[in-house]
Symmetry: C2
Subunit: 244 residues, 2 copies
Amino acid sequence: MRYKITIEYDGTGLAGWQRQKNKISVQEILEESIEKLTQEKVLTVASGRTDAGVHARGQVVHFDLQKEFDEHNIRHGLNFYLVEKPVAVIDSKIVAEDFHARFSSKKRYYRYIILNRPSPSKLDKYRAWFVPQYLDVPLMQQAAKHLEGHHDFSSFRSSECQANSPVKTLDEIKITREGDFIFFDISAKSFLHNMVRNLVGTLKAVGIKKLSPDAIPEILAAKNRSKAGETAPPQGLYFMKVDY
Amino acid sequence: MRYKITIEYDGTGLAGWQRQKNKISVQEILEESIEKLTQEKVLTVASGRTDAGVHARGQVVHFDLQKEFDEHNIRHGLNFYLVEKPVAVIDSKIVAEDFHARFSSKKRYYRYIILNRPSPSKLDKYRAWFVPQYLDVPLMQQAAKHLEGHHDFSSFRSSECQANSPVKTLDEIKITREGDFIFFDISAKSFLHNMVRNLVGTLKAVGIKKLSPDAIPEILAAKNRSKAGETAPPQGLYFMKVDY
């Protein structure tokens, strides 16, 4: 039986999604709780790997079990074993055997949060990127228009990226200000490694007027990571949702 | 010289605003940072005392200094000494000597956040009250209408409350749902001890249909704490703003 679960996590202090030696990962925490509940050792597959410090409100994961469990019992049972951990299961379903959390994904949604005010925050220290310089949202929106669509995103790709092709279709970058917070809601079928954080770092350079919105087409055309802006820090990034 | 500062704090793990023996309070953290910056021992006065676990986005505090400091240097200097602490200064001003953070307050604004979904949250564990039963917002809004205005709030008053009179004027209880979150934005010139949390606990009883909105006038008339609902937990409460 294949199970699809939707999980939330507070990425603060975690090594990210993927299992790593001597570090605590979301995958390890989750697989251990599945083993405690079901007495089965499983390999979990996530829709998208998230880096250290990145959060999730709706990461999707699949795994297979020999024994059959009720959908709701999976959620309740895992949450029982996860009660002291930074991971929670918010939904669980039995799915067809050909469902794949990663390869069946049609669209992924990320949110990036910037706190934009002169003073740092304690409530949002590990939940947003603190940018004290005033950010011009209309300028960032102009720049974002140049990034939406089908492009070679080599300039926004981490050197560790293992994707076959740097060409992606970015469906939307919606930028909204609410009080001192700026939200970047970004969606695409798939992303390159660090792409969202590199996009936001570049948009921030536009927001502080270090970069003109019209520079974006040149940055894309350069296919050179050093032409784009800095990598925004992980604590502002949230994996929100997946469409299948 | 009298200084008015606006502060934010993450109340998680703190004993609340007021200094207490063998516990860490916001007041102690703040007064120690003022002493480090100015070499003066001061007594700070807050607009409203908050309980253990309660957060603030815009608590207002005043204190007096013998030496004169630039307004901005107070903010930057205090934030330097507060960098590892859960308290941050987000604004600082020199004010008239008769300004009083508590007694000059014209209106105080609190926000209470409920996370209303079947599964618990890790990101909001210390930031919201997790209520798994579905809450009916229109019913709670009807109940809130009975609470707004000039009333004897004895039924919503903690037994430890030291206010002279239980009669208060509640300006507004605005209830809005955004996704899985329900926000209660509550404002009044002043509140009784635990009043906001007791109001929210009672509205939650209405939301789960344990209590009818029409029961509210009777609860107010009873002037008896045991007639109203439970005290909502502290981690969902935020001191947002003060008008002077």
